[in-house]
């Protein structure tokens, strides 16, 4: 298919496109390297409590990434991510505490179970779109804590009480090579590695055939099907993938907190995740970090300003952000890129 005649213009076309995108690519690359360096180094200088908070931050960032693939990628809304998060968390808890499985092995299982759960949920949800789909997922989120409390599952889930998990220790070899690593620090780096892996896989996905198919569906379903895209398949796949990644985040959350209980996974979590996605910028994967920072740290900031009015202060901060940068962190990054580009040109 690629004769010499065809590849030559193709090369010029892609080179031109690359040249046009070059300055912004460089800024983006530098920014990601700085972010990565900070993620790697900062915890070395922090107390365990703050390391734990950073772990929480990464875990929510993973969950936001998952929601971003669903909404930003395939254009489907979900207010039910807390349900998938809960299933992932309970999968890890039950496997570790009742079946005695190693914590690291619970992640792929949680991911797989949630993938299937999300895929199956996505099938009937195909008939719904926009706000109706949001409502159906909302119902899922509302139902989940009650399902987890059911007497019928109690021997597994611990009912209302939930399950306490023993926090995993850092691997022995770290001690033998003379590194003193706390449990919290170990879990942080463990989460970071998992998160980077998921991030790279997600970027890969969205930059290739399947991801483009999902985005095509987001933009125009009829044209997508005319291009040969199996719309129902990719919509349910997006649901499954999003749920699967959320499940991994839930499992990591359970391990980090060392505890699961039904009321940790209410609709409030789903709304927080939805909020985080909007703050980060819908469809922009790096924004997941910013969105997660918002939902982990801003409530604390609000509380430090005023204990009694923390909710109101949180609300005000939220409104100010939405008002100033409706596209969230994505917009901030875009503006910063332009600014740096301008400075670069004028100097």
């Amino acid at each position: 298919m690629t004769t010499a005649h065809e590849t030559a213009p193709a090369a010029t076309a892609s080179k031109k496109a690359a040249a046009a995108a070059a300055p912004s690519m460089n800024i983006a690359r530098v920014a990601s390297l700085i972010t990565l360096a900070l993620l790697l180094l900062v915890p070395l200088f922090l107390k365990n409590f703050y390391i734990f908070q950073m772990t929480q931050w990464l875990i929510y960032a993973i969950a936001l990434l998952a929601l971003n693939i669903l909404t930003g990628g395939s254009g489907q809304f979900s207010l039910g991510q807390s349900a998938f998060y809960a299933v992932g968390a309970y999968t890890a808890a039950v496997m570790m505490e009742i079946l005695g499985v190693n914590y690291a092995l619970t992640l792929p299982v949680a991911g797989l179970i949630c993938f299937v759960f999300g895929f199956l949920f996505g099938l009937p949800a195909l008939r719904l779109s926009g706000v109706y789909l949001a409502l159906a997922t909302f119902a899922l989120a509302v139902a989940m804590p009650q399902v987890l409390k059911l007497h019928f599952f109690e021997s597994w889930t611990g009912g209302v009480q939930g399950l306490v998990i023993i926090k995993p220790d850092p691997p022995e070899f770290l001690k033998t090579i003379g590194l003193k690593v706390s449990q919290d620090m170990w879990l942080y780096y463990f989460t970071l590695v998992v998160g980077i892996g998921i991030y790279i896989a997600s970027v890969n996905l969205l930059a290739s055939r399947s991801g483009r198919a999902m985005m095509a569906i987001r933009d125009n379903q009829i044209a997508a099907s005319a291009m040969g895209i199996d719309v129902p398949l990719y919509k349910t796949l997006a649901f499954g993938i999003s749920a699967g990644i959320t499940g991994v985040a839930g499992a990591l959350g359970a391990i980090a907190v060392a505890f699961v209980a039904p009321d940790s996974y209410t609709i409030q979590l789903a709304i927080a995740l939805f909020l985080g996605m909007v703050i980060g910028g819908v469809g922009w994967l790096p924004g997941s970090l910013a969105g997660a920072a918002f939902i982990v740290f801003v409530p604390n900031i609000a509380e430090s300003i005023s204990k009694g009015l923390s909710g109101a202060i949180f609300g005000i901060i939220l409104i100010v952000i939405i008002f100033l940068v409706p596209h969230g962190a994505r917009q901030v990054a875009y503006m910063a890129q332009h600014l740096i580009g301008k400075i670069g040109k004028s100097s």
Binding site: A13, A17, S210
Partner: protein, 265 residues
């Protein structure tokens, strides 16, 4: 015209047999039949509401005919789901441009190749070697089409905000990426000025010759149809009014009446 006549003896590439479509009480198509032969540019004309777009939507399986059959290279397309039409070589553009507005021009064209590639979510996420090979093949072909339709300057741009004429070319590029045997163009001249219509006519002829693509051209713009079509089918109120060479159809009293009646040029 020589090509079309030469093809008359062969089996048709596409056969529309007695197709009817009903929406509630409205009969949008009523027993329409015609054949398309390889290499033809077939013009489908008719006043607004004649059923041209409805016929297109039957060909791309967006609508289900209530009667009749559509055969592509001898086999019925009516058993196929909508997303399995591109793979048998039927490509299309839409009357009012249906692009993926938030995606770049190059990604829009890449999506045109969806039906010719097979990687799945797992291999895509892991960027397996097969994926890299596929993406390289996609990029080579897409690059060639972007050159062909002179879209290099906008290749990296997001579609939303591009001029309408450019968007129409992007849509054409996306359709060509699927390497169709038949290209369905729904009013490609709509919204273009006189000069642009002229360029478009040339481009359609060039596509037919360079790429060996048979074209079904729905047009309001009689001038364009009459200057580039080998064969014309005229519809009115869902029925076939006339069929023949452009000259024959243009002189058909029923066609003249339909067009004068609806004040179309």
């Amino acid at each position: 015209m020589a090509q079309a006549q030469l093809a008359q003896g062969q089996a048709p590439l596409l056969a529309v047999n007695d197709v009817s479509v009903v929406f509630g009480g409205i009969i949008a198509l009523n027993g329409v039949s015609f054949d398309m032969h390889k290499g033809q540019i077939l013009g489908l004309i008719g006043p607004n509401g004649a059923g041209k777009t409805t016929l297109f939507n039957c060909l791309s399986r967006l609508y289900q005919p209530s009667k009749g059959d559509i055969l592509m290279e001898g086999s019925s397309i009516l058993t196929r789901p909508v997303h399995r039409i591109a793979e048998i070589g039927i490509g299309r553009t839409f009357q009012n441009v249906s692009l993926f507005q938030n995606m770049s021009v190059i990604d829009n064209v890449r999506i045109g190749m969806h039906s010719h590639t097979t990687t799945d979510v797992v291999s895509d996420s892991l960027q397996l070697p097969a994926v890299r090979r596929t993406e390289a093949a996609i990029n080579a072909r897409v690059g060639e089409i972007i050159d062909y339709l002179d879209l290099n300057d906008v290749a990296a741009r997001v579609v939303a905000g591009l001029p309408f004429g450019t968007q129409k070319r992007v849509e054409l590029a996306r359709a060509l990426a699927a390497e169709p045997k038949i290209l369905l163009l729904d009013e490609p001249a709509g919204g273009l000025n006189h000069e642009e219509v002229y360029v478009l006519g040339d481009m359609i002829k060039r596509i037919r010759t360079d790429r060996n693509i048979t074209v079904l051209l729905v047009e309001h713009h009689m001038g364009l149809v009459m200057s580039i079509a080998d064969h014309v089918v005229a519809l009115n109120f869902g029925r076939k009014l006339a069929e023949g060479t452009p000259a024959q159809v243009q002189q058909d009293p029923d066609v003249i009446k339909a067009y004068l009646g609806s004040k179309e040029s």
